[in-house]
Symmetry: C2
Subunit: 109 residues, 2 copies
DNA sequence: TGTTCATATAAGTATATGATTATATAATGA
DNA sequence: TCATTATATAATCATATACTTATATGAACA
């Protein structure tokens, strides 16, 4: 039933922390420790939220050196709905700028 | 914090039953017993979902004779976001048509 | 090889959620 | 007035959720 699918997707997005993660990943891919720093939450808490997002296919991961980078899955069935929801949220650029200012941005080229 | 407000709103919408209620009310105002009939759920279950929606200001009620009719609150801060989410849901007109066919539509003029 | 860093996972816990059953309230109509 | 209908609410219960703490895994590097 389609209402259930959409309902589950909204439930997934219906969490402050996951919303911020999605909103940040919409600007730039991030590794776990960057999100931990930006969101000021414990590493396991962030990991567990990322797992939920990944299990639902909303984000993808790619390992680079010792880091795991997460990015939005633009091919997800509900990517367009998610994008339209993001337009109702504040711009997360400030979080990212502060991360850069602290020299906490991960580089791995 | 705005992320929290949006998160709470999405959590509220992140339930199959409430999504259907909202989707139906977007077509036509309904009383509780019509929703009970359309959604095939117990009356207390429907009442409790309506209360959540009302407590969050998403729906309004108006008493007419022995019925309580619910309608969407178009002035809600997140009404536009809700509308954009509704575009990703199936059209609920079939539910309403079946209700009319059964002669279960409430009239109170 | 052993230590450190980044991440994931498991276990435990408190709270939230969504249903059911039973009951209360309030209007209608015989 | 009494029975019926529509709705709300309370109590209960099983399950889900989101965190914490502790531990495991695995890459980097001295």
């Amino acid at each position: 039933m389609y209402y259930e699918e959409v309902g589950n997707m909204l439930k997934l997005l219906g969490d402050k922390t996951r919303l911020m993660i999605i909103s940040i990943l919409n600007e730039t891919d991030c590794c776990v420790c960057e999100l931990v720093d930006m969101l000021q939450m414990s590493q396991p808490a962030i990991s567990q939220h990322l797992r939920k997002l990944k299990d639902n296919g909303l984000v993808k991961e790619s390992k680079k050196a010792q880091w795991v980078f997460y990015s939005l899955n633009k091919k997800h069935e509900f990517y367009p709905m998610m994008q339209s929801i993001l337009t109702y949220l504040p711009d997360p650029k400030e979080h990212i700028r502060q991360l850069e200012e602290k020299g906490m941005r991960m580089q791995c080229e």
